[in-house]
Symmetry: C3
Subunit: 369 residues, 3 copies
């Protein structure tokens, strides 16, 4: 599942974190300053040490040095605490006492979140470098905030609006009339048409927003295209992964609710509506006119039929095929979708029924089949 995440223990020894070819670096910072950002409690080294020590970067427990910060988020890797040289370690309360005596600690009930914020301190996301590349093509009537960065070969359509601090990557194509909020990041080669984007929206390279939905009627000489007259609305803080596709609505709008995150190669059909903070993992697809509540998770390669409703906080498992409504809070998996428990019981039942007596297991044949 994409929601699990790496831990320092899984990192190979080779290579430094945050190769300077690619990542900027800020700092150094004191432990207290970092604890403040992290929202955790700073504990100085138990053996005393220099409370004003400065930390210059991050690293995995096995490789971090005395001037670097590391973290532990997974009980499985707790043994790495014993041997680490890291000068400052972010841990949950249960591990505070296992931090080496010579290391400072930041204790947080959400150590992964704390780590994320500390890492961001050292390696902030690049800000917009204001200016429009001379190769960009800007349509008549487009309104672009002077704080925006518009990359090479970007095309901004007529009457489009781009908010403050937004970065439009190289080769991005923004259609006529499109509205992009402030502090958005639109990657290379994205295309956006018939759409309005809120603030802090991120589109990764190759995302396709606003093209026609898949709509046609059967006419006497073949299919006839049904005009797709709705829009795409991406609310604040939405993220859309690389090469994902979101079709515009046919009559109503296609809406992705605030804070929702879509991974790569995701398909969203026309008129579909996602609530707030939904997660759609890579290669999943949601067919037209389906509605999701808030905080719904759709795991990788799952597929949802059109015209159904998924309740808030439901979780759709990987490769699940959902053909009907799912209740709020339900966990489903399988194709067709069923509750997690039922799915795994089915798997066990079928395995048992398929065993050939005396061949696949040690029990003498019961002839029960």
């Amino acid at each position: 599942m994409a929601r699990r995440r790496e831990t320092p223990g899984e990192r190979s020894a080779s290579g430094k974190v945050a190769d300077a070819r690619f990542f900027g670096r800020s700092g150094p910072f004191t432990g207290e300053a970092l604890a403040d950002v992290a929202g955790g409690e700073y504990l100085p080294p138990r053996d005393g040490g220099d409370v004003n020590r400065l930390y210059g970067g991050i690293g995995p427990l096995q490789a971090a040095q005395a001037d670097e910060v590391s973290f532990l988020d997974n009980r499985r890797y707790a043994a790495l605490l014993d041997g680490t040289q890291a000068g400052l370690i972010i841990v949950g309360p249960a591990f505070a006492k296992r931090v080496p005596a010579g290391s400072a600690a930041i204790v947080s009930s959400t150590p992964y979140l704390a780590w994320s914020r500390v890492a961001r301190m050292f390696h902030p996301a690049p800000s917009a470098r204001p200016g429009i590349h001379p190769s960009a093509v800007i349509g008549d009537g487009a309104v672009i905030d002077p704080s925006c960065e518009i990359g090479p070969f970007a095309v901004i359509g007529e009457s489009a609006e781009i908010g403050a601090g937004t970065i439009i990557g190289p080769h991005a194509v923004i259609g006529d009339g499109v509205v992009v909020g402030s502090h958005c990041r639109l990657g290379a080669h994205v295309s956006v048409s018939h759409a309005t984007l809120g603030d802090r929206v991120t589109l990764f390279p190759g995302a396709r927003i606003g093209q026609d939905g898949f709509g046609f009627a059967v006419g006497p000489e073949g299919f006839e295209t049904v005009p797709q007259l709705g829009r795409v609305v991406l609310e604040h803080d939405v993220e859309v992964g690389a090469n994902s596709t979101i079709d515009r609505g046919s009559v109503q709008d296609t809406v992705i609710g605030a804070g929702s995150r879509l991974d790569n190669l995701v398909q969203i059909g026309h008129n579909t509506r996602l609530g707030r903070c939904c997660i759609v993992v890579s290669q999943a697809g949601i067919s037209g006119s389906t509605e999701l509540g808030d905080f719904v998770t759709v795991a990788a390669q799952a597929g949802l039929i059109g015209h159904i409703r998924i309740g808030s906080k439901a979780r759709i498992g990987a490769q699940c095929g959902v053909m009907s409504d799912v209740e709020a809070g339900a966990d489903v998996i399988g194709s067709p979708a069923m509750p997690f428990r039922e799915f795994f019981r089915n798997v066990a039942t079928l395995r048992k029924l398929s065993k050939r007596p005396g061949k696949d297991d040690e029990t003498s044949g019961s002839g029960g089949e």
Copy 2:
């Protein structure tokens, strides 16, 4: 399924259809003119009213006004007829009498098709604005009809040919020698090589046509690429969705038959052949050298192995895994594919066998397991 479609009843109250930021508008039109386009019968309001009334746009039943057109295509939403203010309503024959007395009607045996044509009247697809953007790069010997629209940063290869009225979107890359028919629409960021396209072909943004198929032989030092020496042939009226990929043939051509429509993120392997008017829904994949007849439907996320034949009018269900030939007219689903009825019987059987007596249902335990 992508083939079901929105109805006015599903539209939220907020927002107008066809936001003027994004969609042009024609009209107004009389009811008779619209009925003519729709291929339906015009019925004036039963209470008399002005037979010369002009209609200026479209809207859902709940929101349309007296000068707007709406439609009913789904029995489920018939109750909306009672309260609608729409001045003109497209309906099937069974509902003609339920149209409010003050509203005119267009009666059609194919109301969705009729609606589609009426909507297109009010909001015609933009035509080509003839001209080549000064930033476009045109190869030597390319033949571009003067009625074409060639967008910013388009690249047209040497000796390519582009037919009358075709729109080549911004950033499209058309390879050397490629032939594109007339009245095609190639979206932003498409790439086309080693291919010939018929007339009225539509490629949505990011579609990839004509790259090498996935072909290699095992050599003594690793894989060796097998030259891919065929082409892609897209016949008349083919549509290819956003970010879909169609590889060129290795020896024979990859062919998509006339009128076929591919949704987003679809994969078509080398040497594959689709007949006329096939439908391939999003994220489905068809492996190399497989052949489809005419009017085949492949639902979302289905996968077809290579080197098989699918008969005309067969329907492949969502997420289906097809490992062998499918007869004409057959309905299959599941992985591996089986007839629809068998699939759902299997699901029911397994559910029954997995039930724990007295726990999952009300029947007293029979010990039958």
Copy 3:
């Protein structure tokens, strides 16, 4: 399966191989010269004939002429040998005697590989045409070998390095600091950032390399992005299909081992590591931090959960859902994954249990259910 391949017998009669609009042509060559390239043994025509005959191209058995080369790789099509006019035929040892008396032969224990090399002789891949298109944008400090071909509208970032003989296609965007080896081919519209590429790497159009992985932590006001501070490393001879996506690592690197080949629309999550010569077929997805050994095959539409290990030479079947480690050499399929034999036994068991006595088969009802 993408690993099966076309044979001449499957080619329709229409159209020549290697349309001159799209493919260059070398030659002619003698049979001995071709046998040398093919790594096979040249056998002159049994009826004598001209040993110095020159061959000018390739064709399928049914259509090839006396000055053309064809091949037979599949026992199924052996009958085509009898009627072929091909002047030179590549066959395995078992078919050497069935080659017509008037045709020469190249006998190889790996006829498909031999064919591949002969086809490449006649139709070599285009080499780089050295030069930087005047429309390309080259960043400060970028180091581009003078033998490179840089296409129209390419963007090369600051301090990027491009090795000898590499082709950068039109509209490709290469990020700051990216290292691309020699003799690579980067297709139209690719984007590459935070990455190092070895030699002879091929990226097909629209491939996305190096964007942020899908990583976030749950904060008090929604998801917070976790900085993705690793890279993508594509080793020598890697190929990545059209519109595939490879995210950069979060802490460690995402690594694709030497010689591995990814098909179209494949998703590779952050921190994932593939060994040497792995094959990932179209629309398959591998979640974050999963590790594959060498020579692993992942068939089309398969999905691998994150944080698992797949042993060398394992084969993951089409649409398989892999939730746990797979041993080296294992063949698995199904969702959840299981050994091939178990999967097909399950299918058979369920089919048997679901049969309705007297209706679906001829046996009289046994009431065994």
